[in-house]
């Protein structure tokens, strides 16, 4: 199963990286959001605020890639007629789907590099990482936490023909609830509580704390905890929903 997961993830990362046009979208979107934040904040005297905005914009795109990627991946399998074959394969379905969602998060790494480079070159955001080692650990931990939340989302998409629409609709709510670009302090209190249950919240905190703050390790730990929880929930839901879809005969519906 480990081999299936790792090789699956590698294949999907390579596949997602094949089309330069698709990658241009991966790079453009976080740059756009970061630019909006730069122009709105106009915080030339507070470069740390701009660096935080760059990191937030990159994590925003990671989530978008994961939620759209996981919904689109299942829809693609449906259109290609391979969803049934994957379900029937001896490898657990969660181990087939998890590499797709985690690979989407890994591709978000391009966004992180692009946003930081954009901010540094055009807006003179100083690229000073307080704890480089923690940052190097926080980035993959963030990718994993977001990717595993994508697995939970993907499990519901098995039942759902219009999965792609749902994926698109879930972008902004999670961006808001996890405080990626808009601080939770300006939002109603209950919104911040929702963020505690979401991987991007802990992933962003881990990366931001590694770059700007003193204590990234608790947040990195939380990334791993929520990742494990998401995997358990996702795998269970996936098994259950696949059983329901098989009994209803809806796997093949396009």
């Amino acid at each position: 199963m480990t081999r299936a997961f790792l090789s699956g993830m590698w294949i999907h990362v390579v596949q997602f990286s094949r089309n330069p046009f698709d990658l241009s979208g991966v790079i453009l979107w976080p740059i756009l959001y970061a630019s909006i934040a730069y122009y709105l904040l106009d915080a030339r005297n507070d470069p740390r605020l701009l660096l935080g905005a760059s990191l937030g914009a990159a994590v925003m795109l990671m989530w978008s890639l994961v939620v759209i990627g996981s919904s689109n991946a299942l829809e693609n399998q449906r259109w290609l007629g391979t969803l049934e074959l994957l379900v029937a394969a001896p490898v657990p379905f969660a181990v087939v789907i998890a590499p797709i969602t985690v690979a989407s998060g890994v591709v978000g790494g391009y966004a992180l590099v692009a946003t930081l480079a954009w901010g540094t070159l055009l807006f003179h955001v100083p690229l000073s990482i307080d704890q480089p080692v923690a940052f190097a650990v926080a980035v993959p931990a963030c990718m994993l936490a977001i990717g595993m939340l994508g697995l939970v989302m993907a499990s519901t998409f098995v039942l759902y023909r219009a999965a792609f629409s749902l994926g698109i609709a879930l972008q902004y709510p999670v961006w808001i609830a996890t405080g990626l670009l808009v601080p939770l302090s300006v939002l109603p209190t209950f919104v911040g509580r929702i963020g505690w249950f979401l991987g991007p919240y802990w992933g962003f905190r881990a990366i931001r704390e590694a770059a700007l703050g003193p204590t990234p390790w608790p947040d990195i730990g939380m990334c791993l905890v929520v990742s494990a929880a998401y995997f358990a929930v996702g795998a269970t839901c996936l098994r259950w929903f696949v059983r329901v879809a098989r009994s209803r005969g809806t796997l093949k519906l396009t």
Binding site: N19, F21, D22, S24, G25, L28, W29, L32, S35, I36, A37, Y39, L40, L41, D42, R161, A162, S165, L166, I168, A169, Q171, Y172, P173, W175, I176, L181, V182, P183, V186, L187
Partner: protein
């Protein structure tokens, strides 16, 4: 007359087919959820940055919702045929292309307009922003003109679907760029000169400016130049879009690329 029939019957059939694929009870909340949360996201970002009022972001992003359906309505009308491998069959028919594809796009654009109105209303309550009836009427006029301009621009994007595969992604990127360049979320005076120059020749910029002017209590005479500029931009893109539709269909036939997916 035949073109009108294709426009109406083809459009209605295509729209009904959409709801065969997805339930309206699923479609509407999803379509509505995106603009509602987009408005809230930028309104709260504006509050944090202490830039402009909630009204500024509410109007800008409600217009964005109208624009997106204009772009995608046309883009997907052609891209969807390519995806379902029916584009070459469709183009073998003698039907008027403009009527054919516009008929498919118009119901989506009307839905988008309705969704934008609903999102605007919901967010007005959430953000506690109020408008007078005359201001709302002005916004509706500015929205209609912007919708025309964005649909015309969408025709240009959609025609690219006769030659390319990733038109939806391209339309998505253009739509995203509008968040920044059109003045929907960043006051134009904060943008560098070259971005302001681009904003003048794209749809939506003048429509948003007119809408904000009308919502601020200005008269139609005072914002007439902005509405006129938006209509002019839309007219230019309409002519360009029709020309591109013909040229790229010819190129698609010549290079046998209509079935490439």
């Amino acid at each position: 007359m035949n073109a009108l029939r294709i426009f109406v019957v083809g459009g209605l059939t295509s729209y009904r087919a959409l709801f065969n694929w997805i339930s309206p009870w699923v479609f509407i909340p999803h379509t509505l959820g995106y603009p509602v949360f987009e408005i809230l996201f930028f309104a709260y970002l504006g509050r944090f940055a202490n830039v402009q009022s909630d009204k500024f972001f509410l109007i800008g992003n409600a217009f964005m919702a109208i624009a997106i359906t204009g772009f995608f309505g046309m883009g997907n009308a052609i891209g969807g045929e390519r995806r379902s491998q029916t584009l070459s069959t469709l183009l073998a028919s003698p039907a008027n292309r403009f009527a054919l594809f516009l008929g498919r796009a118009v119901p989506s654009i009307c839905t988008g307009f309705l969704v934008a109105v609903l999102a605007f209303t919901i967010c007005s309550f959430i953000l506690d922003v109020h408008f007078a009836a005359s201001e709302l009427a002005g916004l509706a006029v500015a929205g209609a003109v912007s919708s025309f301009a964005c649909t015309s621009f969408g025709l240009c994007l959609g025609s690219l679907g006769l030659r390319g595969r990733s038109v939806s992604l391209f339309a998505d990127m253009i739509g995203g760029s509008m968040l920044l360049v059109s003045g929907a979320n960043v006051p134009l005076e904060r943008l560098p000169g070259w971005l302001r120059a681009i904003s003048n020749i794209i749809p939506l910029t003048h429509g948003i400016a007119a809408g904000r002017g009308l919502a601020a209590g200005r008269s139609f005479a005072q914002v007439g130049h902005e509405l006129g500029a938006e209509a002019l931009v839309g007219g230019v893109y309409l002519v360009l879009g029709v020309a591109m539709l013909r040229l790229l269909e010819y190129e698609g036939r010549r290079s046998a690329s209509l079935e490439a997916f």
